[in-house]
Each structure stands twice: as structure tokens, then as C-alpha cells.
Amino acid sequence: MTEVTAPQAPSREVGAQTLTLAKALNAGLRRAMEDDPKVVLMGEDIGKLGGVFRVTDGLQRDFGEGRVIDTPLAESGIVGTAIGMALRGYRPVCEIQFDGFVFPAADQIITQLAKMRLRSLGSVNLPVVVRIPCGGGIGAVEHHSESPEAYFAHTAGLRVVACSNPVDAYWMIQQAIACPDPVIFFEPKRRYWDKALVDPDVPAAPMGDALVVREGTDATLLAYGPMVKTCLEAAEADDRSLEVVDLRSLSPLDTEVLYASVRKTGRCVVVHEAPVFGGLGGEIAARITEACFYHLEAPVLRVGGFATPYPASRLEDHYLPDLDRILDAVDRTCAW
């Protein structure tokens, strides 16, 4: 990544700019911090280093060590103290360095962050955002390529979202921070370097909304995070008319958008990197089947990871859903 000098933009002053997804997140965080002095960032190496993906680049320099907090190396500690900060009136945004390192914080997330509002009968809000760079495809070592969204989607009390492009990254991170509920925020790490024009004056849709990102009539591809781009590419490469929906919110799902698409096309393939077994695809398929039973020409098919831990990087191209595997599923659903 190239270095930029402040202002990192887009701020309202600078106007639209072409940004990578990582820079768009950086700009979104910056804007949220400018707008609300209670927003603080917490995590490992997010200060001088700016995070291993440079998402927080320059923010400690500009907002100080009190608001961009390099923490001890302990994920449970990060989320646990963030909860405490939130109880004191702050809006902490935690960075988990890589997907596979969120599990030491699982207890604080699942048992405390998700459940404290109910425990307090609504007297306490926990506006904490947990940012997790997720997914594979960058040739990394173990634990650096996982997709743990299903764990959090199954955890009532959390909201789970995933951005797929720079514009959504810029807006959704701000929406997540503004949200009074805890939000698990997935960032598609292999898309950090994708670029798009981000306009600080043209808000994106609310983070809770699913969006049809490509219209089509023959089958629906449902995806989120890193797989949206892969699905769009697959749709482009195919002769059939494929509709692509970006879920954006994984919990809750914006089901009406999904149902409308599937009722139109009659066929649906859900794509995610996480293992198919027990993944979000099952939930989506079950819901769509129930809601659109008589519209379905074929069962909802799923393309995703195998029932193995994420493999060594020299195998990841076989493991990750790609154009061929997605279109193979489309073939199968169309031939049903």
C-alpha cells in the first residue's frame, strides 16, 4: 500500500475520491471519530503501525493515544475492556488482527457483549464494534484466512455485517459505530486493495439492507464480503442471466430482498468461504425454501468451504469457491 499524507479523506471537505477498501475504512473511521469524541479505537498494533492492514493508519497521530489505543496482546482483554469503556459512555471500535484470533474473545463477545443489554432490561446499551478482517485468498499461514461469521450470526444480541466494496466499507463502518447495538463487522481482507470512488456526500444504503448488485432472471447468487466480487465475476462470465445479491447484513438478514429475487428467478445458489456445514448458507437456504417453496424450481444449492479447517495456502485455490465452482452449482440448479 502506498502512503498518504493527511487529510486521509474523503472528508466532507475533500469530496469524492477513489479509495481502496482499506482506505475507505480508514476514512470512515476518521469521520466517525471527528463526529463523535466518544469513538475510540482499540486493538493490537493499531497505533504507530496503523494495523497490519493499515486500516487505522495515521489515526493515532491525529487523534492521540487516548483515542487510538494500542492494547496488550489479549483479545478477551480487548473486548472485555471495550465493554467497560462502552458502559462508561464510549463507543469503542475493536480491531481483531485476523479472523482466527477472535476466539480468545469468544466468551466476552458471546456471553457479555451480546447479552448485557437484555441482562440490564435495556438500561445499558453496548455500542461496541468488533472489526474482523476475514477470509482467505492472500496466501497466509494458518488462522489468517478464516470466516467465522456463522458463530456470531447464531449469537442473539449481536448484529453481524460484512462489507464487500469500498463505498459500503466507508458507510457501513460509520453506521456500525452509530448503531446502539454491538456489531461484528467483517472486512474482506483480500479485497482491501480493491478500489472505488467514494463520495462522502452520497450515503450508502443502511447496513441492514441487502442489495441487488446485478440484476438477472435465470438464477440468484447470494453472497457477502469477499464472495460478492467472485459472484459478480462468475455472473459476467456466464451466458445465463444471473442476479447477484449482496447480503451486507448477515444477522439479521434482509430476507425480503432475498425472497423477492428468488421468487423471480426460481433458483438460488448461496456462496460463502466458510465451511458449508453449519454455515450461514444453511440458514439462508432453509428460510428461502420455507418462504418461496412453490417458486423454487430446484433446491437452494450452496457453494463454500469443505468440512476441514482452512487448508495450507498452497491448497487454498482448491478450497475457495471460484468461478468454476459457482457456475457448476448454477449448472446443477438449472438442470434440476
Binding site: G77, L87, R88, D107, L118, N125, L253
Partner: protein
């Protein structure tokens, strides 16, 4: 049962009132209380014990699902609880009923939890007393984060040229909790940021059926040394010592001297909770020995011997607490069950598509029964 290093007559044990009711001075912990204050401490101790006993009785009657009794730990809790200032924030476990009382939280709120009416349900901000935390140790990180927030607030105020009030957090946990990763991470964070927090460990010698030696082989207060902040062991059955030691630790926190650890050396006189059967794992002689160190008897002995209180006072207190217990019972019995739709409330602050849908479907389903 407990390891050698853990006898209560440790040279390092801070004590201001002996089990026999004799008043000691300690160079580091001077304490001067008015006669009235001393009597009020006694009243506190007797009252919380009575309400605790009543709560156990309510459980036996089937009115509560379970009750974790504080019996034996009254002094540790009243002493530390009375050291708090209004701006301080407490992070309790599930046993700090007497601290709750010090913070003005009506006891009935705690009964609601253990009756299963809700999971806690009070407003922590209103009382400076956070929700009960059942998962062992988790709250120590919340407390540390809260203290970091206090520190940040104070810095922000100072930057604006104003003087910040020094507030602090007080985090409670048990001897068993010291083994949890979270508690040790809390020590790390608190030390690194020099957060205004006091870690208050009630070492009641037992974590359910496990004696202290399953958690540590040295006195627990020394854990703090390993993280670079002071640790002190106080006689947890001595309300004066607990008050003085907690005050001093809170003062340190308030004035920027950072975290400290207090180990209140005490004993769980009852079962772990009403569902526990301690005869399976501990000897009654241990209990007998600790009876001699009762936290209330020594205050009564002191007040009597010094003439600070007379029979009439003691009787008045007894009557008062008996009334309070009766009131509590009546209020408990009158607690209504929550309606089914309460299930769907308060999970999220903002509207939630799925939950709304589920609630609607459930209402339709319920309505079906009326057809």
C-alpha cells in the same frame, strides 16, 4: 483444607478489630470513625445477614431458584462497600448482596434475578453498581475498561483546564476467579494503563467444592506483585480493616497511583449456593474454627465493651432487621411473573427484523389457542 501459606494469622494480614473485639492500630491504615458510624456499620452487618438468611429461607420455600449466600462475608462486603464514594463504580459477582445494599440497590432486585423474573435488570448507572456477573471473572475486564474510561474522562476534563473528580472502580471476584484468564488479563490492562481500579478478591477459601490450593500455592494477594502493583491481605471478617484498606486503595486509584489488589481473607460459612451440599467435601471443624471469627460478633463485643452501644440499641436493630426481612418476604411473594412477550424485549436497542418477525409469529401462534 487450605495450604500452609494461607493461615489467617499471617504476619501480613491487616487487622483493626480482633475476633475478640479488641481494637488494633495499624500504621498504614489509620481509621477514625464516629460512634455513630461504628454503630451504623453494626446495623449494616446485622441487616444484610438477616436479609441473606431470609433469602435462603425464600429459596427453601421454592420462591427463588437458587441463592448464593453471603454468610460469613458481611464484613468484607460492608467494609469495602462503605469505602465507596458516589462517583465510584462497582463490578460485582453474584454474591455481593451487601455491597449492593451499600449502593442503595433494593434487595428485591436481586431476588428478581434469583427468582428467574429477569437476569438482573437494574440500571447500573443509577446505583453505581453494575449488573451481577455469573461467568467467573468476566467483570474484572469490564471494570478495568470502565476505569480506563474514567481515566480518559479525567484527562479530557483536565485538558479543558478543569479539575476532574477522582473516581474509581471496585471489582469484586472470588478466590476461584483468580485462575481465570480474564482476571489476569484485567491485571495486565490495569497495570499497563495505570487504571483507577481496585481489585477486591474475597478469598472465602472455597470455589464450590475446591479448596484454595486448587487455585494457588501462595497467598493470593501476592499475585499483584507479578503484575507490578501492590497487593494486600486484609482480615475479611474485620469490617474496620476492610473499610480502611479499601479506602486507601481507592484513594490511590483516585490520585493516579493506579491499581491495587485486596485479598479479603474470609470464609464461606454456608453452602456455595442453596443447591450445594458442602458436607460432601469439607469438614465441620473448619466451619467451627471460623465461627469464632464471626464478623458481627466482634463488632458487637467492641461496641458493648466500649459502651458505644447498649442493649436497647442492639434490640432496636434486631427489631428493625426482623421487620425488613418480613417486608422483603412479602415483596418477594408479590413479584409478578413476566408476560411471555417480555422474551422479545430489550435484546436490541434498535428494531430487529428477525426478532419482530418471530414475535409476530409467536403472537399469532398464541392467538390460535383462543380460537
Amino acid at each position: 483444607m487450605t495450604v500452609d501459606a494461607h493461615t489467617a494469622r499471617d504476619a501480613e494480614l491487616v487487622q483493626l478489630l480482633t475476633p475478640e473485639g479488641e481494637r488494633l492500630e495499624h500504621p498504614d491504615y489509620p481509621l477514625s470513625l464516629s460512634d455513630q458510624q461504628l454503630r451504623e456499620l453494626y446495623r449494616d452487618l446485622v441487616l444484610v445477614r438477616a436479609l441473606d438468611v431470609e433469602s435462603v429461607a425464600l429459596t427453601r420455600r421454592g420462591e427463588l431458584g437458587l441463592w448464593p449466600s453471603l454468610l460469613g462475608q458481611e464484613a468484607a462486603q460492608i467494609g469495602s462497600g462503605r469505602a465507596l464514594g458516589p462517583g465510584d463504580m462497582v463490578f460485582p459477582t453474584y454474591r455481593e448482596h451487601a455491597v449492593a445494599y451499600c449502593r442503595g440497590l433494593p434487595w428485591l432486585n436481586i431476588l428478581r434475578l434469583f427468582r428467574g423474573v429477569n437476569h438482573a435488570g437494574w440500571d447500573p448507572k443509577e446505583f453505581g453498581f453494575h449488573l451481577y456477573t455469573i461467568v467467573i471473572g468476566s467483570q474484572t475486564l469490564h471494570a478495568t475498561g470502565y476505569a480506563m474510561g474514567m481515566q480518559h474522562d479525567a484527562r479530557t476534563i483536565a485538558e479543558q483546564g478543569e479539575t476532574a473528580v477522582g473516581d474509581a472502580t471496585l471489582a469484586y471476584f472470588g478466590d476461584g476467579a483468580t485462575s481465570q484468564g480474564d482476571v489476569n488479563e484485567a491485571f495486565v490492562f490495569a497495570a499497563v494503563y495505570n487504571a483507577p481500579i481496585v481489585f477486591f478478591c474475597q478469598n472465602n477459601q472455597w470455589a464450590i467444592s475446591e479448596p484454595l490450593e486448587r487455585q494457588t500455592r501462595i497467598p493470593l494477594y501476592r499475585r499483584a506483585q507479578g503484575f507490578g502493583f501492590p497487593g494486600v491481605r486484609v482480615d475479611g471478617n474485620d469490617v474496620l480493616a476492610c473499610l480502611a484498606v479499601t479506602r486507601r486503595a481507592l484513594d490511590r486509584a483516585r490520585t493516579g497511583e493506579g491499581p491495587s489488589l485486596i485479598e479479603a481473607f474470609t470464609y464461606r460459612m454456608g453452602a456455595h449456593t442453596t443447591t450445594d451440599d458442602p458436607t460432601r467435601y469439607r469438614h465441620s471443624d473448619e466451619l467451627e474454627a471460623w465461627k469464632l471469627k464471626d464478623p458481627i460478633a466482634r463488632v458487637k463485643a467492641y461496641l458493648s465493651r466500649t459502651g458505644l452501644a447498649n442493649k436497647a440499641f442492639f434490640e432496636e436493630v434486631d427489631v428493625q432487621v426482623a421487620e425488613a426481612a418480613v417486608e422483603l418476604r412479602a415483596a418477594c411473594l408479590a413479584l409478578p411473573d413476566p408476560p411471555p412477550e417480555a422474551m422479545f424485549q430489550h435484546v436490541y436497542a434498535a428494531p430487529h427484523r428477525l426478532l419482530q418477525e418471530e414475535q409476530a409469529a409467536y403472537e399469532t401462534y398464541l392467538a390460535g389457542f383462543h380460537d
